[in-house]
Symmetry: C2
Subunit: 395 residues, 2 copies
């Protein structure tokens, strides 16, 4: 074979989520779109705030073409990075500068860059905490490291510190956290972040190597009545990966950043390695016009309250029927215990009622399913009788 | 060290080109912008055609936010890929379909994807032909393969087939060609492409493995009175890497594609490996709005004639002084023989006249310098007396 088998595998096996989404489209043609309850994808359902398209239009009229569409420096426009620093400093009381930020093509790029910057040998390990976004596994492997999974705390969806501690070795480079979480909707409490910082400080000392937190935070702004602790305030060796995909509803535009705080060990060298990884991965620079859009639109979000309404209708509706759900504090996912041990089978059975929910096996949390409620509110309301019929089948 | 040293190296050593550009900015502050003749960067100097910004404005008014800014499928919008296929078929008499194209974040991404899709073992070799774009080396190494260099044909800047043949081994996976060429400005003739196809067919047979041509073609539309042969018509196992950075003057927006022709060996598997490589590299999807811009603007270009005028003024001016130049048939670079053997030293000496030209050592062609003429015409005219003074220093 003259083709890379691993790449072939990645390209030919569609993810479970995509598979389900395609099934939903087919099924909609058979029974009508209004009769299929597709909760498969995490594609934001609320539009970008108006200021985004207004800014795009005025940029195309005010800036000359070369400034608007030309290369930016690899690390991103100075002005954009300054705007990001200013916004975070104002919001979280931090003291970042433009030099702490490296603009990227969204969170997947930010994560891929961090994994590549930190991985030195094939023995290196990066820890993820179930339930976790399945592509972590792909990006960690692509960087040449091993992905080590900490099993889920299915009670509170915080961190099982006993399980975490036992998995940290001399090869551990980083622990990835994702709060608000996809797929559980949980937000890590300040207590959780403090404990995590303490465990990692101790273990870093024990092994004589810094162990990083990589905080994947695309859902930071989508939180309901809870604070999402800003991780760098609790632990110096933190890399934050951010994307505007969810907060500004721009998932297709691929724009985000990596934050390398000054307080991190060998911060300058680490920043250089981040830049080097971006170069090696072929990123060149983050999309130029959208960097300028971010400069103008930072601090805005789509209508997060629409997601909260969806959450309430769905959570209350399913709980009333009898489903066991974790009440999400953020993101736009509801995590529900399957009605049989095998959540893959449960997800299949749900299809009989034209309900499409993703089994969490791929998220490292079998026995649960993810319901993406970034959908039309009416669909949620219409789906509740179908969820009830599904429930009755198990009684 | 807990940071990847190679990534650190890539991030901390600025490229020679960037170094020179930064020097130029500093120098301009000292002696005035009009007194520095900066020919360092390959950043298009002509604006994007008006239709680009017009299309952007109307898309933001006509399309709903989710369709405009949402995820596209990983391979790219069906409509965009169809438009690309239709345009190429009309222009070159080919018969591609939408399914042959994988939309990417520009040529660097396209190349990184192809290298990764084809590389199976650390013994694998990818051949580049001097003079070549220095980042090839970075992307090939990042994919885990070895970069093998064929020395330059400094007569005609075609291919030295004796040197090429002797470098093809059982480990050769691909030969990268770049026509119109950065940095020489040469366009490969039909005869060169035919010979290349014949050599690679023979060698593929000899070693029992397909050897691919990877055609890096961002400058395809920037050609002066010559045909740029479309490589798939001469050799089935060709992957074409394209970007709209130069043709539409959108280098910062990162939009392009990979073409996997149906006629290529195991075409479907290869396409899947391309998609898998895109996934492993963290690309997710090409920027959504610019995919839609391409659908509407395909076939348009910036004012290529402006580059031709620049070429003529520069080529005629330097030749008249006495410089030995290769007359470019495409792209926006003039390749000039340095006035001493050591082109690094020559480039340094040029700085004394505030002329910034890039020594081609990094392009695998020491003894020559690259002059990027994607600059203001007036600067070229103003620079000629300085070039004359520089020439006299060597007399």
């Amino acid at each position: 074979m003259y083709i890379n088998e691993e790449m072939y595998g990645l390209g030919s096996c569609r993810s479970v989520i995509r598979e389900l989404f395609e099934y939903g489209k087919k099924r909609a043609m058979e029974v009508g779109r209004e009769n299929v309850y597709d909760f498969s994808l995490g594609n934001p359902s609320i539009p970008a705030p108006d200021i985004v398209n207004e800014t795009i239009r005025s940029l195309t009229q005010e800036l000359d073409s070369l400034s608007l569409h030309g290369y930016t420096s690899a690390q991103g426009d100075q002005e954009t990075r300054q705007a990001v620093a200013d916004y975070l400093n104002k919001t979280h009381g931090t003291d970042f500068t433009a030099d702490n930020f490296y603009m990227t093509m969204g969170a997947a790029a930010s994560l891929s860059i961090c994994f590549k910057a930190l991985t030195c040998t094939p023995d290196d390990e990066i820890i993820v905490i179930a339930p976790f976004f399945p592509e972590y596994n792909v990006f960690i492997k692509a960087a040449g490291a091993k992905c080590v999974v900490v099993p889920a705390d299915t009670e509170n969806f915080q961190i099982r510190f006993d399980e975490l501690s036992s998995r940290i070795t001399k090869n551990t480079k980083a622990v990835v956290i994702n709060s608000p979480n996809n797929p559980s909707g949980a937000v890590y409490s300040e207590d959780t972040i403090k404990k995590l910082a303490s465990v990692l400080s101790e273990k870093s000392k024990e092994f004589g190597n810094p162990i990083f937190i990589i905080a994947d935070e695309p859902y930071r702004e989508i939180a309901y009545d809870v604070d999402v602790p800003f991780v760098t305030k609790y632990y110096d060796n933190t890399l934050v990966c951010y994307s505007y995909s969810k907060s500004l509803s721009l998932p297709g535009e691929r724009i985000g950043w990596v934050l390398v705080p000054k307080a991190a060990e060998s911060s300058d060298k680490l920043y250089a390695a981040v830049a080097g990884a971006g170069r090696a991965l072929g990123y060149v620079c983050a999309p130029s016009m959208f960097q300028k859009v971010i400069t103008k639109c930072i601090g805005n979000t789509g209508d997060v309250d629409a997601y909260r309404q969806n959450r309430d209708i769905l959570y209350n509706g399913l709980t009333k029927i009898g489903y066991h759900c974790y009440k999400p504090e953020g993101a736009f996912y509801l995590f529900v215990k399957a009605l049989e041990e095998n959540s893959d089978a449960f997800s299949e059975k749900a299809k009989e009622e034209d309900i499409l929910v993703v089994s969490a096996t791929g998220f490292g949390c079998p026995g649960w399913v993810r319901i993406s409620y970034c959908v039309d509110k009416n669909m949620i309301e219409r789906s509740l009788p179908a969820f009830e019929r599904l429930y009755k089948k198990y009684e």
